[in-house]
Amino acid sequence: MTQQVLAKQVQEVFARFSDGVVEDQRVGYQGYIVAPEHLLDFARALRDECGYDYLTTVTGVDYLADGKMEVVYHAFKTLGGPALEFKVQTNRQNPIVPSLALIYPSAELQEREIWDLFGIRFEGHPDLRRILLWEGFYGHPLRKDWKEPYFEEVAKPFKSRFPDGKVYRAEDKHPLKDNIDFPEGFDPAKWEAEGDAALYKALTNIPGADEPGIKTEQIILNFGPQHPSTHGVFRMAVLLDGETIVNLKHVLGYLHRNHEKIGERNTYIQNMPFTDRLDYITSMSNNFGYAVAVEKLMGIQPPERAEYLRVMMAEFTRVISHLMSIGFLLNDLGAFFTPMMYALEEREMILDVFEAVSGSRMMCNYFRFGGVAHDVPDYIFDKIKGLVFERLPRRVDEIDAYLTKNEIIRARCEGVGVLTPEQAIALGVSGPLLRGSGVPYDIRRAEPYSIYDRLDFDVVFTEHGDVYDRYLVRLEEIRQSIRILQQVVKQMPEGPIQIGKSTYQVKVPPGEAYGRVEAPKGELGFYLVSDGKPNPYRYHVRSPSFVNLGALAPMSIGSKVADAVVNLGSIDIVLGEVDR
């Protein structure tokens, strides 16, 4: 792939670091390799002088054969346009990289994830703890030489399944009859569980706390992981002074399902149903993101009708997701359950469509590389028309009339959980959260993919950045989605839905690609590294919910504890995607 043409300022910045920043020359790779000692200066120059103010993705790659590890960054301009990708390389024995958390706060959580899964230490990181696994877990699982207890082979398909597939359960073959493994010579009796000591230390470590003044007693309050207001198995530890939140840390990983490790063992097509289970409300959007990334790597384009079908499904998903998000927000506000029921009713109607088209209500597994799996049956197309032209617009208006002006909702939401545009960009949040803070950034417009550049819709944004504004953005985005759906249904072309014949053997040339789509919750990106084999060498999911969660603490600190729940509801997370 060719290097993109860079603006003048960017070239100047590059010239300044002449020997410290070099182009990545590997076949199929883009971007620049930055020497670790120049990383901080380079990032600062990139942010302040070149306008790349929006760092969305940070991830690691373990190049075992070369004996090095790499941290990959993707920075964007909030004015739109493609990514500027830069990388830092380090050795495998003692991997240390300077932390960008102070320049781009969005890197903080993602660097913690890399430390957890790759064991790359980030120098200068404010709070480098494990994030998805627990303190004390042995090893860093995404390293290529780390093997899980049920490890069978490096890549699928496994030889034990065919032609001599004598069935067994994985646990029966393991000496401990379970999915566990321990380091050599380990003695559990001597083990002292670290528990939450590190978490509470980080929680109570507040800058400026030593200042003189009246000291009040502070208490630590834990929400979750089993708690009705935490949207699944999410946990937040809150430091309270009276009812006011002094500090907030979230604890993740209660649904960490090793998506990426499994994804690197799967063949490309096998990952498709796994992506369904990322954000399980919006499986079609996840499929879309993954298909876009792989197609970028393969250099193919699906046929016209497939593009329309894809957009149709993605927008239906957006309607579902935003409706549910509104319903759950109202749940968090204490409006048990009527708004949620109304949202779920519309969801059922749309799920009927998904079920008829793809075969499953939630786990659609509908996209294929170069097209989609099935065409829409005729009888369901009539229902789709009825939904997008008649039912959904009416129902959205009803929800609008039902909730928007409600005095209680306004009292609870207005001015709560304010996120300024500067904060939002720095924290790398995306989706309705970013747009609610007054940044009109929508990937469908900023870096159009599929057929979005041909469709007529507005990027919705509001200016206050509070919970109420996020609600308004979501509501209006449903309307815009319906607008897109109406165009798509009207313009739906005839033709094939797949390039050639759908096949399970996909040839992907070596290289890397970062494909991203505007999922309902924000930027959903897939970073793929291919070494030409049938399975990806590196498979990383940049999930919107995970990065958006970084905004929870800045939003909530200083407000009342009851508002933390509402703030969380307004971020709209799905744990399947946060923990992966």
Partner: protein, 201 residues
């Protein structure tokens, strides 16, 4: 006036409640426990409650619905069951969580593989109902079932499906997926006709 919007919201919920009774009244006897009643309640025009009263009435699943896979067998006129599966192993290869296990038989005399699986297992506790096996099976042999009522008390005894549990007749397949079945049969007849032509030529 404060509280007006709240009252408006209450009116909307009340309206929905009333609409349920209006629709029930209009639908008359056919509203519940009939297939047209179910269809009316899942239609986009419905305005009241949409409850389907399982198990007395069941929401019909669409043709493409997928649950656990099954194997199709054809019944020969003399009542013999002939599995369509040729144990080519493609399903075991594409299966994302690798829950399909096949033992391919070999001919004792020639040592060549025989085109019927000796054993075929699907671990339901691992299966993710993705439908990849059915999608890529070249012999229309493995298909996704519609039967979702498979809850059990004991997973160790029941959750690894073997050949006996997996094999279902082509008639059953034709019943749950008529369109797919008809299309596949048409292709098959065409192929057979072509093959016949070739042999004639």
């Amino acid at each position: 006036m404060t509280g007006l919007a709240i009252l408006r919201g209450l009116w909307i919920t009340l309206k929905r409640l009333i609409m349920t009774y209006v629709e029930d009244f209009k639908g008359g006897k056919n509203r519940y426990y009939t297939s047209e009643g179910i269809e009316a309640r899942r239609d986009y025009r419905v305005r009241g409650a949409i409850t389907i009263q399982y198990p007395e009435e069941k929401l019909p699943v669409p043709e493409r619905f997928r649950y656990v896979p099954f194997l199709v067998y054809d019944e020969t006129p003399d009542g013999e069951r002939k599995l369509r599966c040729t144990s080519c192993g493609i399903c075991a290869r594409v299966c994302p969580p690798q829950c399909i296990w096949i033992v391919r038989g070999t001919d004792a005399n020639t040592g060549k593989p025989i085109p019927t699986p000796l054993a075929f297992y699907i671990d339901v506790d691992v299966c993710m109902n993705c439908g990849m096996c059915a999608e890529f099976c070249p012999f229309d042999s493995i298909k996704m079932d519609h039967d979702y009522e498979i809850a059990t008390y004991d997973r160790f005894a029941h959750h690894i499906f073997d050949l006996e549990k997996l094999a279902k007749s082509a008639a059953y397949y034709a019943k749950i997926r008529p369109t797919d079945y008809a299309a596949e049969e048409a292709v098959r007849r065409e192929k057979a006709a072509k093959a016949a032509q070739k042999t004639e030529a």
